[in-house]
Subunit: 269 residues, 2 copies
């Protein structure tokens, strides 16, 4: 079966068995994927509060109890230690290594943060027939460090990182409307138009990802990016931090629509 | 000037000066009011996570840094120790006393939680010409302890409390639509119709507030209620907890509309 048609449980089982080590883009197409950030308990309050104060770059889907590797809300029965294809381990802010599981690192002191991902709003844009340039061009979305600071919390502080998609000008309203429905996947754009207003000097020089072509009738549209919390957490230099490797996400049991503005279905009873 | 027409700063100054000790319902009519829960730092992570997992009863507007009495997002320059008309002080879960300020109790270890309040969605219902029975009848909204449990976090656990408004059946859709726009003020109803489905045996016997009349063409409509987090925090018996006295809220500088689904204006940059 094609990866896009697999159920979340089927793909997570493949990953857990070591039979899938690749990025998860395009997998289980109707289901939301999540970014992972793991920090020790002593930092969890500050990081949680950072996410609460900065919900556009840090849309919190679930926070686990210390030591509990099961994401009970997003994927009951899944295991955060084994069910992502690749992890990154940081020590004091420096990347130490990439590993296929974190069974030997996990302990009772660790708290997992799962954050919404732009795959969900890109799914919604595509459903609404809004073209996505980096997908058309087969590259990674361009991302830029802005001149805007996030609201700081303790040692968690740093600039907002945004992703940019050139949108045909007659579709910009539609792109706003569609993505605004997904506050748990970064929501509506943080900025539309002039990159200089965000402190971005040159769209052809992204800080992460790849440049894409911008056509004469395009408007650059900027969304808060999930790289922000990872960058901020890295700058805080926690003794230990674990994240998913870029593109190697947790596949959740939640359909994209469950991350929309009817999201109490996700969080509630 | 009438209390409804005062600016938030004007009313907070009156309160701070001891010239306003009454409930805040109807004051500063265009501006959102907030529930206050203060707990020691050691409990703040669990309580914050409880709110994150239970956003309908606990819509977080702002969480202060430990020891900082200024609600920088909701009301820059205000002081949580003096700017509410009446406070309740709980020790180990028991109400100890009501006080007009908490200057002598406040210390560097305390964290303030400000939560959205139903005044905001009631404002929106009225703007949309949906009648509100308890306001017509001049009583408090009826509230009920349900048979549904909140998602627990550590020692924070307990049932969902709901408020009920009988809505003429042909206006129920409108009431859902209007309140759904205010996720930071409890959002859309958690239940519509049969109270037994929520474990409520008798609408004429509310657990808090007052019973209201229910007419033949009314449907009972239930919203998550801000009494929930206070009740849950009380059951957790923290050594010290401070809340606003019922109805004596923080008046914020934020207009009701800023608590709507365009709420990144509230939280963002």
């Amino acid at each position: 079966m094609k990866p896009a048609q697999l159920s979340p449980t089927e793909l997570r089982e493949k990953i857990r068995a070591g039979a899938w080590r690749r990025p998860t883009a395009g997998c289980c197409r109707d289901f939301a994927q999540a970014n992972l950030v793991v920090v020790p308990r002593a930092l969890a309050h500050e990081f949680l509060l950072f996410c609460q104060r900065n919900p556009e770059p840090c849309p919190l889907l679930e926070v686990t109890d210390a030591g509990d590797p099961e994401p009970k809300i997003l994927a009951p029965g899944a295991d955060l230690r084994t069910d992502l294809p690749k992890y990154r381990v940081y020590k004091s802010g420096a990347l130490e290594r990439e590993v296929p599981d974190i069974l030997s690192i996990w302990d009772d002191d660790l708290v997992g943060f799962l954050l919404g991902c732009s795959f969900t709003f890109e799914w919604a844009l595509q459903e609404a027939a809004v073209p996505i340039r980096h997908i058309e061009e087969g590259v990674n979305v361009p991302m830029y460090v802005t001149g805007r600071d996030c609201r700081p919390v303790g040692r968690f502080a740093g600039p907002l990182v945004v992703s940019m998609r050139p949108i045909p000008s007659d579709l910009v309203s539609r792109a706003v409307e569609v993505t605004a429905r997904f506050p748990l996947a970064h929501g509506e754009p943080v900025h539309i138009g002039d990159p200089a207003a965000l402190g971005i000097p040159d769209l052809s020089q992204p800080d992460f990802g790849d440049a894409v072509s911008i056509r004469p009738d395009d408007t650059p549209v900027f969304w808060a990016c999930g790289v922000t919390p990872q960058a901020v957490a890295m700058r805080a230099k926690p003794e230990l931090m674990i994240t998913h490797a870029p593109g190697h996400m947790l596949i959740t049991d939640r359909r994209h629509e469950e991350l929309s503005d009817i999201s109490d279905r996700l969080r509630g009873r």
